[in-house]
Amino acid sequence: MSSFKGLDLFGSGPHRFRLGLRRQRLLPEFLVTGSDNRTQFKSLPIGNEELSVEVTGRLVGADDGAVWSLLDAIEAQTSLTPTWAPGVLDTGRGQSWGDIFLVELETAGPFDRGRVVSVGYRVYFQRVEGSFA
């Protein structure tokens, strides 16, 4: 079972994990040094991209209320109040990422009402390396 901070946020339906972009971030040198060298563009490495993970899937419930409750539980993790805190994101398949924040929740479309009620979603997690209050 996958989890975030030990919570089963995605288990009502199918979901998949995708590692975000991993790279060395580069900035134009002139932005950092003020150099006015116009003959050769130069870049400076400024650090690793912050780790990010995307979860896409479908929340499934018996009725609209059940699906809204599932969405609310995820949305609560994006809120600054009472505390926006990082946690461990565990795929349930042997991979986990610690100290990661749940940053975004977006539904993929309207609710679908067939045999069950369901809605597609995308959730974005990111490590925030900077300190903040």
Partner: protein, 134 residues
């Protein structure tokens, strides 16, 4: 649903005699199919949108200059009895919109095929109702 013995066929209040068959087809308009990280197989499937269509095939004794046209809406209704007995008669009705009217010539004569899409009074209600008559 396939009805080979439809009687009292009418659409929008007008009788449609000579019915040979009426087919009620149900097709998914939207299929939801999802996979997981666990393997190659579908782990979730649902049909949140479906299209119910009806096709009436009837024999025309003579040529005709009028009749239903695409876009016409009304109640399509008929009665059916398995084996043409009164033992299990049912009345079937659906609010429907004509989508196609076609004609063909067979060895038995002229056939008219009218296609409909059934319209639900509310999205959750089955547009086709079947009522037992006996």
């Amino acid at each position: 649903m396939l009805v080979l013995d439809a009687t009292k066929v009418s659409f929008a209040g007008s009788g449609l005699g000579g019915a040979r068959l009426i087919a009620v087809d149900r097709v998914a308009a939207t299929e939801l199919v999802s996979f997981s990280d666990d393997g190659p197989h579908v782990v979730f499937a649902d049909v949140p949108q479906q299209r119910v269509t009806l096709k009436l095939v009837r024999r025309l004794p003579t040529g005709t200059l009028d009749g239903p046209e695409p876009g016409d809406e009304g109640a399509l209704s008929f009665e059916t009895a398995v084996g043409r007995t009164d033992g299990s008669r049912s009345s079937v009705s659906a609010q429907a919109v004509v989508t196609k009217v076609q004609h063909g010539v067979t060895r038995e004569g002229v056939e008219q095929t009218i296609s409909f899409v059934a319209v639900s009074s509310a999205g959750a209600t089955d547009p086709v109702s079947v009522t037992a008559l006996s």
